[in-house]
Point group: C2
């Protein structure tokens, strides 16, 4: 829930998330920018698309997903296959599943959208149901494989606090177009190998 | 050199490259399609862009490159770094270098172009100075690495007989946009790790 602290138009103002733990004091011009990344701001529902308006604490995210988004499949293990079916469906489409390993839950998202007009692209990414700091302890690998070709993307998972939109905007994820998708797809279904590991840094 | 066989408009016609070795007899409707892939057709200069009109035999390609395209660097070894400088140069740009290993010459091409209007992309690929059949004995890996991210593309080299245009059209190569290029670039220069291996198939 959003805290109800009144935002005062003073040079130095208390922050919107002060009641949930943030103790910074910033000049009011710095405030909007800080609030976008403040670790004390509430978590939004990590499901892609803006349809679910739920907000709450990190601890409540998993129970929200289990109750409000029952259709999301969970697979156990650090090395799984994320099977996206019917990738030829027209328009913007999201495929979502959960992967559970190392005592954490990860959300796998494949999003098909037209970032540039007339050029449909796929964006695949792994998010940690956790803070950005926790996410830095992990690495993930997404791999498309087949027909004597392999495309691999390795990176640090995003925290669901940061969400997928910025990563897609910056192409900071596995990006491929429909021609590549068809190179690797089998009968309209695309298997993405997902491996999560702990990070030695 | 193109052979000078006259193409007769008969149902079954001798093929354009009959004098250079092709002995197929095809219905005339199949001819243009076959000629595009006929292994006996002459080799064109493999340099990207249409500026060099040279054609000749496979055996003559390397000496053509060494005499007419002296500026192309060659590196020895199966594992090298292809450094593309000034990737922010505007417009369509090609970076080309040669890699020599396993007794063969490979051409590395990075091409920046606007396949979709307003969306600049990079396409990287490895070609063998050799036939398609020879190319099938090798595999290549292109890798962008840095900032806790890695993007890898592994495939069979293309023969210079097939060229890069079709591969780029079909995204059958390493494809990335300017945002990804900037994630991996250092001061406007992009290092691509290139590894060539022999194939066990």
């Amino acid at each position: 829930m959003r805290s109800s602290v009144v935002v005062l138009e003073m040079p130095f103002a208390e922050l919107r998330y002060a009641t949930t733990g943030c103790s910074l004091t910033l000049h009011h011009t710095e405030k909007p920018e800080h609030e976008d990344i403040c670790e004390y701001r509430p978590y939004s529902c990590p499901c892609p698309g803006a349809s679910c308006k739920w907000q709450g604490s990190l601890e409540a995210v998993m129970s929200h997903l289990m109750h409000a988004h029952k259709s999301i499949t969970t697979l156990q293990g650090e090395d799984i296959v994320f099977l996206a079916t019917d990738i030829n469906l027209p328009g913007a489409v999201d495929w979502v599943m959960m992967q559970s390993c190392f005592g954490h839950h990860f959300m796998l998202v494949l999003e098909k959208q037209e970032k540039y007009e007339g050029h449909q692209q796929f964006f695949a990414i792994v998010l940690l149901i956790g803070t950005r700091k926790q996410a830095e302890n992990f690495a993930y690998r997404l791999e498309l494989n087949g027909n004597r070709r392999r495309l691999t993307w390795e990176a640090t998972p995003r925290s669901i606090h940061d969400g997928v939109a910025a990563a897609i905007m910056n192409s900071d994820c596995l990006v491929f177009d429909t021609a590549i998708a068809h190179l690797f797809a089998d009968n309209g279904n695309l298997g993405i190998n997902v491996t999560i590991s702990t990070c030695c840094q």
